[in-house]
């Protein structure tokens, strides 16, 4: 497990588990977002940091193909644990 703070632009990583903080009763998370994380864990999708915002947080973008063949495009902010770094070089 790695901390999200080591992520840089171009870093490749996987989400190994749904972040524990998501289950904190004081932590608000939309059911669709939770479902998306469960999908990423199950799929083992390798994500690439496509941008780092002005606050220094990494973002990833990925597509998810639904059962009906349509494509959902996702943009996700990464500031949690539960990730596994694969490569950290551009």
């Amino acid at each position: 497990m790695s901390d999200w703070k080591i992520l840089k632009l171009g870093s490749k990583f996987q989400i190994e588990s749904v972040p524990l903080e998501f289950f904190d009763p004081d932590f608000y998370i939309d059911s669709d977002t939770l479902s998306t994380y469960e999908f990423l864990v199950k799929c083992g999708m390798v994500l690439t940091v496509s941008r780092v915002d002005k606050d220094g947080f990494p973002w990833v973008e990925f597509d998810r193909e639904l059962d009906d063949g349509s494509i959902e495009k996702h943009s996700l902010f990464i500031n949690h644990g539960g990730i596994s770094l694969i490569a950290n070089q551009l």
């Binding site: 171009g10 490749k12 998501f22 004081d26 932590f27 608000y28 998370i29 939309d30 669709d32 977002t33 998306t36 999908f39 199950k42 799929c43 083992g44 999708m45 390798v46 994500l47 690439t48 496509s50 606050d55 947080f57 990833v60 973008e61 990925f62 597509d63 998810r64 193909e65 639904l66 059962d67 349509s70 494509i71 959902e72 495009k73 996702h74 943009s75 996700l76 902010f77 500031n79 551009l90």
Partner: protein, 233 residues
């Protein structure tokens, strides 16, 4: 005459290692030596092979959605140049490889033909003007940047332009998460026919509602998940 702008800012960020069809729009099959699925734009990407990926130039272009054709776009660049005036805010970096100018209502004039501060459009609004202008992929490929940032502008009058692009309609939803105030426990929705603009519109609504406060206390809430789906006309 209303011109529409489509910006694609994509990286080679989608790789699926365990699951096939559910993870990416184009999966490469190492056994048959090509992508297992047809490019969604079919022969528009290549006149001879719908299974080609970014015209066999993956180091120069990327196209996770399989919808762009860099050669067509590049060939069109400079064919027509015009001056456009519109609304919206442009930010980011990139190089526009032909001539012309785009002026935004915010007062920023973007000069095309030089390295300019352009790129990801933030906010809504249509670019209004005359003529047709195509700008190809923006960005530079270096050894330190394997994920080329592709920013492509398609601007065309409503009665012309690539039909595949005209047909796209997006509905984007931004959902905050974290230690968010109660009013942030909702979804912010934008609809439009431009992916980046629609996504930015939903995110901007979320930010404007005060729901993006990473690092601040007592709230550490972020507009951290945007989902965009295409919808039929």
């Amino acid at each position: 005459m209303i011109l529409k702008q489509t910006i694609v800012n994509a990286t080679l960020s989608v790789v699926c290692v365990l699951s096939w069809g559910s993870c990416a729009s184009a999966m490469y099959d190492p056994y048959i030596g090509r992508f297992a699925s047809r490019d969604p734009i079919g022969f528009e990407g290549s006149k001879f092979n719908a299974y080609r990926y970014v015209n066999d130039a993956p180091l120069n272009y990327s196209d996770p959605a399989g919808l762009a054709d860099p050669l067509t776009c590049a060939a069109a660049a400079g064919a027509t140049s015009s001056t456009f005036t519109g609304v919206g805010t442009l930010g980011g970096t990139g190089t526009i490889a032909t001539s012309g100018t785009i002026a935004t209502s915010g007062g920023t004039v973007l000069t095309i033909g030089t390295t300019a501060t352009v790129g990801v459009a933030v906010g809504g609004g249509a670019i209004v003007g005359t003529g047709i202008y195509y700008c190809p992929y923006i960005g530079t490929q270096t050894s330190l940047q394997p994920q080329l940032t592709k920013i492509c502008y398609w601007i065309w009058p409503t009665d012309s332009g690539p039909p595949e692009q005209k047909r796209k309609k997006y509905r984007c939803t931004t959902k905050p998460r974290g230690h968010c105030p109660e009013h942030c426990q909702e979804r912010f929705i934008a609809e439009g026919d431009d992916y980046e603009l629609t996504k930015a519109g939903a995110e901007a609504q979320c930010v404007a509602a005060g729901c993006h406060t990473p690092g601040l206390t007592p709230f550490s809430c972020n507009c951290g998940h945007t989902t965009c789906i295409t919808r039929p006309n």
